[in-house]
């Protein structure tokens, strides 16, 4: 058996691969598969590798993506990002100015978030042994919510809120990869902490996730399966960019599987949904409620379609586009 590209999709095959890896660690690892781990001392930690191709794209670059991607994993668990550790793998022959540009871009987001780079490493690989540069970024921060946000909090009736239109990053990278022209489209790559911070005070916020690889659909499947709850979302409530729809249409992708890089789905108790939405609206004018957690069909995510049925949403099965983040 070999590791295949599909194992990096973020969908079901990825889940299986991770399962195998964790089984080796047995009890010496964390069991709940959240985006970041909450560890002793009220700290949260996460690590992420970034290999996106192309490295520069409308709306961002690999440096910005690395800081956003890793700190967003903290933000959606109610952890304030504070420190970064970064490892950069560079291919021999990369123009130095490109490296500097990437690091400056990373610095820009770090500054905005007030996070410090406290550890780092660089390696240079012989030409051909890497494609330009890869970044691995570890983010550390402090949990500030009363109770940790996580899928264990999910319960029937919770309202699902999305902070903006879905799939923009995935659609953009796909379009660039397959040579489709989409001049209107930019990645949604952005830090989520500014959005999430005000919510850390709201008791009714249960759980959040940035919808990266595998998209909104995969995240919701993980929630439904992980918490043994049912989820129902409505097709016509999900904010969608026409350009994203068009890319998905051409390539035959499901928009629910297209990655976001600065868009989160948040589960909140029904009585504070309105409050959460109005609070989010300040920075995320397109945020909206898209569905709810139900008692029906535990473990299954249903999509209410325009023609009236409820379709099963599954995780992404194979790879869509290699190297999306």
């Amino acid at each position: 058996m070999f590791v295949e590209l599909k194992h990096g999709s973020g969908g079901r095959p990825t889940q299986q691969l991770i399962g195998e890896i964790l089984s080796i660690y047995g009890d010496n690892s964390i069991k709940d598969l959240e985006d970041c781990a909450l560890i002793e001392g009220g700290l949260g930690v996460t690590i992420d590798g970034f290999t996106v191709s192309p490295r520069f794209f409308p709306g961002g670059d690999i440096g910005k993506l690395a800081v956003c991607g890793s700190t967003n994993d903290l933000a959606v668990r109610g952890v304030k990002p504070m420190y970064l550790a970064m490892s950069i793998l560079i291919e021999e022959g990369l123009p130095k100015e490109e490296l500097i540009k990437v690091v400056k871009s990373a610095y820009g987001v770090s500054k905005e978030l007030d996070v410090k780079l406290v550890a780092g490493d660089t390696k240079v690989l012989p030409r051909g042994q890497a494609d330009g540069m890869y970044i691995t970024c570890c983010a550390l921060g402090k949990a500030v919510t009363g109770r940790p946000w996580g899928i264990n909090n999910l319960s029937s009736g919770d309202i699902l809120v999305i902070t903006g239109p879905i799939g923009k990053h995935g659609a953009l990278i796909s379009a660039l990869h397959y040579g489709l022209d989409v001049d209107q489209l930019a990645s949604d790559c952005a830090p989520l902490w500014p959005l999430m911070q005000p919510l850390t005070e709201v008791a009714g916020v249960k759980c959040a996730r940035d919808c990266t690889r595998g998209g909104l659909g995969t995240v919701l499947c993980e929630w439904a399966e992980g918490a043994g709850i049912g989820i129902e979302i409505e097709e016509d409530l999900i904010p969608l960019d026409p350009e994203v729809a068009s890319v998905a249409d051409v390539l035959g992708f499901d928009v629910l599987h297209l990655a976001c890089e600065g868009t989160a789905v948040i589960a909140v108790a029904p009585d504070c949904a309105e409050y959460v939405l109005s609070s989010l609206r300040v920075l995320a004018p397109n945020c909206t409620a898209i569905g709810k957690v139900t008692e029906d069909h535990p473990g299954i995510v249903g999509l209410k379609t325009e023609i009236g049925g409820i379709r099963v949403v599954d995780m992404l099965a194979g790879e869509m586009v290699p190297r999306i983040c």
């Binding site: 079901r12 397959y178 040579g179 489709l180 249409d249 051409v250 390539l251 035959g252 029906d296 069909h297 299954i300 249903g302 379609t305 325009e306 023609i307 009236g308 049925g309 409820i310 379709r311 099963v312 599954d314 099965a317």
Partner: protein, 759 residues
């Protein structure tokens, strides 16, 4: 004088078998008893040797219409010491092993109809009249043995009259579990879209008819669920139904008062009549009658040359269709898009509120939902396109004891099958498992089958597709199986067709369908296999081409049309043709052509027919399954033969469609009639398939050809291919008791499992 005890096995409960025995025993002056037990019916006979032999003979010859006697076992035979005595019917007994077979639901019989129309009868115009020979069965049973208390009729205690019928051995309603009368039984009422009751019983019928005549849409509760009914002559009503149901094109089924009404709109041959009138009452898809066009709204079954027709099978339906000016009704399953049909009253009020104007409701609960069965006539050959009411849960019977296997089935036209003892039980059509509600139905029926028959499968067979939900459900529900097996989709088709034909040897398989997960990770669907349930080889297949946009390509046939143009004509010419055929889709088609190599490849025959339909300008996008191919078939007229090529490539036989696509495009450019092009595409393809089989037969000496896969619902393709195969001295094997589409996958899975796990 002797005393003989017989055990009769088969479908012998709930079909009037015991009263029949009692009547027969009385006729022959025999004493003794008859009793249902969990293995069948136990008959004790006391009397002369001759009369007892006569009894056994008549048991087989004159058994009630829905009884299916499998075996008659002699349990004991001895000299009778005492007197002959009375013949009695004894109460059911429950034993450890439960092997009783449940009968399917049965159309109202002639005796009951006569009573219902007799003003002097206590059940005059009673909408729930039934007897031992007719009425609901499968849909009302919750538990075995089959007794009233175990059905949804348990909440209607019988009045004295009904009770005495029920207990009178000589009565037609002796132990008829759904027996009822106006005094004690269920009631019928009409309510508006918000559930407000407007009329009851006969007044409800009168009002319902008036509303139908006025062009309103009604939800009518039937045996396995609700129908949506309206007047098919009323254009506005039919269009409203289409709009509200969000079902733009898929044909609506018709219910005809009688043959006379049916023949106004369809051509009926002998076989079609037989099926229509059978107590199983399927929808029979028949050619539209010549000149029937103006009679019905064009929106009943647009762009095709057939209507699906059935005859009434419940008293309510007979009452609704009693007037000459309402002798045809649209009766389409009441559901939302691809969801299972609606069967509960509350469910109906909730889900159908935006579709229906009124409800014709009653309070006899439907325990399990089941759709109407659909059979299409390919000349005189009936082809199941949906096996459900009237047929399920009748099992396949094997002479061997079978290992207990669960076959999880496919995904789109899902069914499951389970083997047990000498039987294979196949569920009804359970719908598209991509619908959340279908999953619930699958689980409900699965629980029901396993508990009714007390089966704990030791083995699981499922499709090789890594994402099929049927596999997931079965694995979740059967965590304790000893062993499981993933079976290639088209191998399951082959095995199903062979089992269905009771054929044991090796056969060729022309397996043509839309999609199946191939052993090489590609999407298969135009497969020439050689093998049996034990094993198979992929002898050949259709030329493969990329399927641009995965599932999208299924909904938009023009995408695969573009792909085959590219494969046939190369870049420049295909771009040029694409601009011509789909000028509005230029942006997408250019992107698709540029990226064609990223898409998964398919050898699907279903997609090829869709694509041909798109090239002929029939349609670029479909609103129901196989629509493009169905319309291509409807278009085909005349005699032509498109050239398909057979080639050997790396030891594989490749059926190359490129010459046929060239022929099609040339014909289009040359102004040849599309009817002939469509005909040529069908017949040329059939000729190539037959030729391939001839070649393989020369090499292997195999003579039988199994035809399975949804594409074989194409009547023209089936008839022409069968004729050509026979002419070549080969023998086609066509599905008999199951559909060639993916409904048969679970049966094939069981057949393959039997090979694997029979010791």
């Amino acid at each position: 004088m002797i005393r003989k005890v017989l055990l009769v096995k088969g479908i012998v409960q709930g079909v009037g078998f015991r009263p029949f025995c009692a009547k027969l025993a009385k006729e022959l002056k025999l004493g003794g008893s008859v009793q249902n037990n969990s293995s069948g019916v136990l008959i004790e006979l006391c009397g002369s040797n001759e009369n007892i032999d006569e009894f056994s003979k008549k048991l087989l010859d004159e058994a009630p219409p829905l009884a299916m006697i499998q075996t008659i076992e002699i349990i004991s035979e001895e000299k009778l010491l005492g007197p002959i005595g009375e013949f009695t019917i004894k109460a059911s007994e429950r034993q450890e092993m439960q092997l009783v077979l449940i009968p399917p639901d049965i159309a109202t019989c002639d005796d009951c109809l006569q009573e219902m129309r007799d003003p002097n009868d206590k059940r005059y115009r009673y909408p729930f009249i039934n007897c031992t020979n007719c009425g609901p069965r499968y849909t009302i049973i919750k538990e075995l043995p089959y007794d009233r208390t175990k059905t949804t009729m348990a909440c209607f205690p019988m009045c004295d009259d009904c009770s005495s019928e029920y207990n009178d051995v000589t009565d037609r309603r002796y132990h008829a579990q759904p027996n009822a009368c106006p005094e004690c039984g269920p009631t019928l009422w009409l309510c508006d879209a918000r559930g407000k009751k407007l009329a009851s019983n006969d007044e409800a019928i009168a009002l319902a008819k008036a509303h139908l005549k006025a062009g309103r849409i009604l939800a009518v509760k039937g045996i396995g669920g609700y129908h949506l009914a309206c007047d098919p002559r009323n254009d506005e009503a039919v269009r409203a139904l289409r709009a509200r149901k969000k079902r733009p094109d898929k044909p609506f089924a018709l219910m005809a008062k009688d043959f006379k009404a049916a023949e106004k709109v369809v051509l009926l041959n002998g076989m079609a009549r037989k099926l229509l009138a059978s107590p199983r009452r399927p929808i029979v898809v028949c050619p539209k009658a010549k000149g029937c066009g103006p009679l019905l709204s064009a929106y009943v079954a647009p762009n095709i040359d057939t209507y699906g027709v059935m005859l009434p099978y419940t008293p309510i339906q007979h009452l609704l269709l009693e007037d000459e000016d309402l002798d045809l009704l649209i009766m389409t399953s009441a559901n939302l898009s691809d969801e299972p049909l609606v069967a509960g009253n509350r469910e109906a009020l909730q889900k159908l509120a935006s579709i229906t104007d009124y409800y014709l409701m009653h309070d006899r609960d439907i325990y399990v939902k089941i759709d109407d069965s659909v059979i299409a006539m390919a000349g005189n050959t009936p082809i199941f396109t949906r096996r459900a009411r009237g047929y399920v849960p009748q099992p396949y019977i094997s002479k061997d004891v079978l290992p207990p296997i669960f076959g999880a089935g496919g995904e789109m036209k899902s069914t499951f099958s389970v083997s047990h003892d000498h039987y294979i039980f196949t569920s009804q059509y359970l719908g598209d498992l991509k619908e959340v509600a279908s999953i619930a139905l699958y689980e409900h029926v699965m629980d029901m089958f396993l508990s009714l028959y007390e089966i704990s499968p030791l083995f699981l067979v499922h499709d090789k597709h890594p994402m099929y939900l049927s596999t997931k459900i079965a694995k979740d529900k059967l965590p304790e199986v000893k062993d499981s097996l993933a079976v290639q989709h088209h191998h399951a088709h082959l095995a199903a067709c062979l089992w269905d034909n009771d054929f044991q040897g090796e056969a060729m398989g022309l397996i043509l369908d839309g999609t199946g997960f191939g052993d090489d990770g590609n999407i298969w669907g135009g497969e020439i296999l050689v093998g049996n349930a034990k094993s198979f080889i992929r002898w050949g297949h259709l030329l493969e081409a990329p399927l641009p946009g995965g599932d999208k390509a299924v909904l938009e046939p023009w995408r695969f049309a573009l792909s085959i143009l590219l494969k046939t004509f190369g870049l420049d010419k295909s771009m040029e043709l694409a601009d011509k055929f789909w000028p509005d889709r230029k942006r997408t088609s250019e992107a698709l052509i540029r990226n064609m190599n990223i898409y998964v490849k398919t050898s699907s025959a279903g997609r090829l027919f869709d694509a041909a339909a798109s090239l002929l300008g029939l349609r670029d996008a479909v609103t129901y399954d196989a629509q493009a191919a169905i319309e291509l078939e409807a278009l085909a007229k005349g005699r032509e033969c498109a050239p398909f090529r057979l080639e050997r490539e790396n030891g594989h036989l490749i059926l190359d469609w490129r010459p046929a696509i060239e022929w099609l495009i040339m014909g289009l450019m040359g102004g040849k009639r599309k009817e002939r092009l469509a005909a040529g595409f069908h017949d040329g393809f059939a000729a190539a398939l037959a030729q391939a089989c001839k070649d393989i037969s020369l090499e292997t000496r195999i003579r039988h050809v199994a035809l399975s896969g949804g594409v074989w619902q194409n009547k023209r393709l089936l008839n022409v291919t069968c004729a050509l195969l026979r002419r070549a001295g080969l023998e086609p094997l066509v599905h008999k008791n199951t559909s060639p589409n993916d409904e048969c996958i679970s049966l094939g899975q069981i057949a393959i499992g039997i090979e694997r796990w029979s010791k």
